[in-house]
Amino acid sequence: MSLMRQGLVIEKLVAGLHRQRFAPAAAPNLVVRWRKPISLGTAPSKLFRVPQRPQIPEDELKEIRRLFKNYNTQMKSIRAWFAEELKRQEAVTAAAVAGATGEEAEFQRCLQINEEWNKKVAAERQVRLAAEKAKLTDKILTDLEQDELQKSKRMAEIQQMVEREKDLSSHYITEENIDQAIEEALGQEVNYNFAIDREGNYYHGFSMTPTTSHS
């Protein structure tokens, strides 16, 4: 490894150490050219150093100033010329557009077409809305009819239910006949643990002789 390369490596290592010390938030992979932070102040060896003013000969200074003034003047004139040119061009194009195409006439034509379209669409809409209204009235009427039908059906069902219960009410067990019902129940045991065959006969327990009642 050459001496120069060695020096470079040492410089990088030192720089890395300083980075860690003074700029811990910096991304670790980012290589930044090392600079002393301003907070360290001027080095003691450079504390009283006075930088030398540049020494320019008088005729050279004159020449530099002349060139500088020339440049400024020329740039100013070019800028002014461009600005004027732009203004002139804009005026010309605006006038040309307004005169040649006849914007007003075009607008009137468009307005007329638009009005025609509007009239046509309005007529179509009126027809459509009328049809829709007729359809809706039809639907409402049929719905009402259906509703009436449903109601009458339901009422018939309820009526049937009431009739059935009226018939059954003679078999209800109430306070008057509960003693009798209990006596009957205790007298006769019901057994739902049976098998049936295809003729509808009942078989209880292990017996193979069919019975016609299930209890």
């Binding site: 059954l168 209800y172 067990i173 306070e175 509960i178 209990i182 045991e189 019901v190």
Partner: protein, 148 residues
């Protein structure tokens, strides 16, 4: 008023005592504006499937009853409370009686031989659809004549 069914077990007692208990259970329903449709005795002094503890006693036999009644739905919780506290009732449960589903008898179809059953025929048609296409032998050859 909807119809409910009360299925309950009474502890092992003499028949007159059972009658008294049954009447008490019925009276609770009448008290709340209900009526009984049916009272069924499913067996007196029968063995329980397992030993049951209730009201501080152990029961191995009980009398089984089913009681169909109509009562306002708001009173059912009341009835449950009353029957829970009745010392003669070992176990009870109140069900809502559902109308049985109407089903048509299809036994005559089900006992046909499989090939004649409609559902089997449908399954066969479905499997026929899924079969991969086979070489059509209208060429008279029993193999595919061209190089694959």
């Amino acid at each position: 008023m909807p119809t409910y069914e009360l299925a309950f077990l009474l502890k092992n007692m003499s028949k007159p005592d059972i009658a008294v208990s049954l009447k008490r259970a019925g009276q609770e329903i009448f008290l709340r504006g209900g009526f009984i449709r049916k009272l069924e005795n499913l067996g007196v002094s029968k063995d329980t499937p397992y030993k049951i503890s209730s009201h501080g006693q152990v029961h191995r036999t009980a009398s089984y009853f089913a009681l169909q009644f109509d009562a306002p739905p708001t009173t059912i919780d009341d009835l449950r409370d009353v029957y829970k506290r009745d010392v003669d009732i070992v176990r009870y449960k109140i069900f809502k009686v559902q109308e049985p589903e109407k089903a048509e008898c299809t036994l005559h179809e089900e006992i046909l031989p499989p090939a004649y059953r409609k559902d089997v025929q449908e399954l066969l048609a479905e499997s026929e659809k899924k079969k991969p296409k086979q070489w059509d032998a209208k060429t008279g050859l029993d193999y595919y004549p061209f190089q694959r």
